[in-house]
Symmetry: C2
Subunit: 331 residues, 2 copies
DNA sequence: GCAAGATCGTGAATCGTTTCAAGCTGCGCT
DNA sequence: AGCGCAGCTTGAAACGATTCACGATCTTGC
């Protein structure tokens, strides 16, 4: 069976296609009686608007792309959820894509979104060149960078440097003098900034370079955290305070420490980052730096929607949100 | 600036639009020289195909919808990833939607996908009526049910009853005689089946109704697992073996038990379900029932693609995959 | 009785692609 | 020379919606 089109509805209701379209888009322009008749036909025939055709005509769809580096890190999916909720509230829908840590896949995602004619993109970029952003802009897409301050585009980011400092200072005020920092790949800007923030805070507090050793892991997963723990346990003397670049790392690390018989927080204290749901229910409930997830997501779509709304000249805004320390038991 | 269309390319290359389209879709039909000239123009102008228009013409896009109950449960996202990978290999793309546990949102997802003209839907349904499936079929969409055996549609499911039995039997052979089952909402079929499978295995092994107490939690999260643990610790005598309906529950539960000073597995043994990544790195590495995640995802898209391929009469297939016990330390 | 609005409805043009019947060339063959 | 054929290319007709200039009908006030 072929799909029901606006034309079928028009015939069934005995009106013109234009009128059906008006019922759909500007109901106030059509007389009560006709409107109801058309509505009835729509219901009876089970008509669903072909968004594809609508987009083609209108030039752009009511859809925003969301490109995240991973679906398995709850932090990102929560940000995305907040973003999506905000979109829905404005009649937009979200198209989710994952770059899965590969810059090539990231490009494929963007190609896909362009082809799908989305009106904007929220992206937490792996490695997005200035040119590509410009290209997207050139094609009329709104672009909002998540967690990356870009000069030529809107962006919303958490202040990772401050967050790292928050974590480190917490350890320092608790009299820890030998620190370890377990971090993800330093090639990623937010990761690097957390690290810098923490390291700088340590130095400012009078620690020397030797007092803080950093472990760079290729992934930011619990498994990587576990691996970091065994590396860390090889140190002598042991550090007493550890800052992990995200909660997954921290969870894997704490688990391994506990398994090895090390008491957390008495022998080693651990601070995580993100405050994902799992942090609160970890064996040792995790002290962590909370990112303003829903604010991040929400303002990202707000910026995107603002940009698509105002067609032409639009001032790119850089929103920076502050993280917050959540003290639980691990430090 | 307005988007570059196939027509612009045609003019730039000095050919007709038909030829450009041929270069794109049946390159073998066009002479080498022309093809190269067109390709050059495409590159030079930065043309991207408007998938929207293409879909409109072709009737259906090269896109499959994926509807999952949650983005925060790694099990589902991994299944989705496998499904997406299989699609990409066939030139299809995935559209991800989340029902977020709400049947209303589930319907919205399907509406969205219909509007977007996807050619099929993989759905792990919350509460999908027969009629809705029929409706989708009627509109020419392929439908593949994940984790739900439906007679009027293709489906691929893991054998949850067998999985539950696997878990319970593992505990039983280890001489546990007082069991607890921590489960998600029994209104969800897969959850119910895991429970049944486990309970039945216990009874078959000669346990009585009193020997196994079940805790039904509204959510299947670590937090819920934690809550279950405190309920469970109120029991007297304590059960010695616990089967959790998924790994997140198990992780939350184990963490809380450990925190309460209960030794796992010596005092209480715990078996999870899913074998998500976190299971292996938990404080007590989790013994769990592994679902064939990538097979699930892959065969789901295979079924969907087969259905869209063969236009008309197509025999719905029900694929059932077997789970597998992974023994670690928690039981 | 009539001009001027106001209110509704119409239908053709349009968006960017694919598809396909038909046209054009040049070549080999008789 | 004429024919048939293969290989390329063309251009117009769809796909299903939105938009908009224009008609048709109805009010209203004088």
């Amino acid at each position: 069976m072929t799909r029901i089109s606006i034309r079928d509805v028009a015939i069934h209701a005995g009106v013109s296609v234009g009128t059906v379209s008006n019922v759909l888009n500007r109901p106030n322009l059509v007389a009560e009686a006709t409107r109801e008749r058309v509505q009835a036909s729509i219901g009876e025939l089970g008509f669903v608007r072909n968004e594809t055709a609508r987009q083609l005509r209108q030039g752009r769809g009511h859809v925003l792309g969301v490109v995240l580096p991973s679906m398995t890190n709850p932090h990102f999916t929560e940000v995305g959820r907040a973003a999506e909720a905000a979109m829905n509230a404005d009649g937009f829908d979200a198209l989710w894509c994952t770059s899965d840590g590969s810059r090539e896949k990231e490009q494929r995602c963007l190609d896909f979104l362009e082809e799908q004619n989305v009106s904007g993109v929220l992206i937490s970029p792996l490695d997005l060149g200035e040119e590509r952003v410009a290209e997207l802009h050139g094609r009329g897409l709104a672009v909002v960078l998540l967690d990356r301050i870009g000069v030529r585009a809107c962006s919303v980011a958490a202040d990772h440097r401050a967050g790292g400092a928050l974590a480190a200072r917490h350890l320092l005020t608790r009299r820890h003098r030998r620190l370890a920092i377990v971090t993800g790949p330093l090639s990623a800007r937010p990761v690097r900034e957390r690290h810098h923030g923490a390291a700088r805070a340590a130095l400012d507090a009078g620690l020397s370079r030797h007092d803080v050793t950093t472990f760079e892991q290729a992934e930011m997963t619990a498994a990587a955290g576990q691996a970091a723990a065994v590396r860390l346990l090889g140190l002598d003397p042991l550090p007493t305070g550890v800052f992990c670049g995200n909660d997954l790392l921290a969870i894997g690390l704490v688990n391994e420490l506990v398994r090895a018989g090390v008491k957390v927080p008495t022998e080693i204290s651990v601070v995580g980052y993100d405050d994902i749901d799992l942090a609160a229910t970890a064996v040792v409930p995790l002290t962590t730096v909370r990112q303003p997830r829903v604010d991040l997501g929400r303002t990202a779509t707000e910026l995107a929607l603002a940009e698509t709304g105002d067609p032409e000249h639009h001032d790119h805004r850089q929103v920076v949100l502050s993280p917050e320390l959540v003290v639980r038991e691990s430090a």
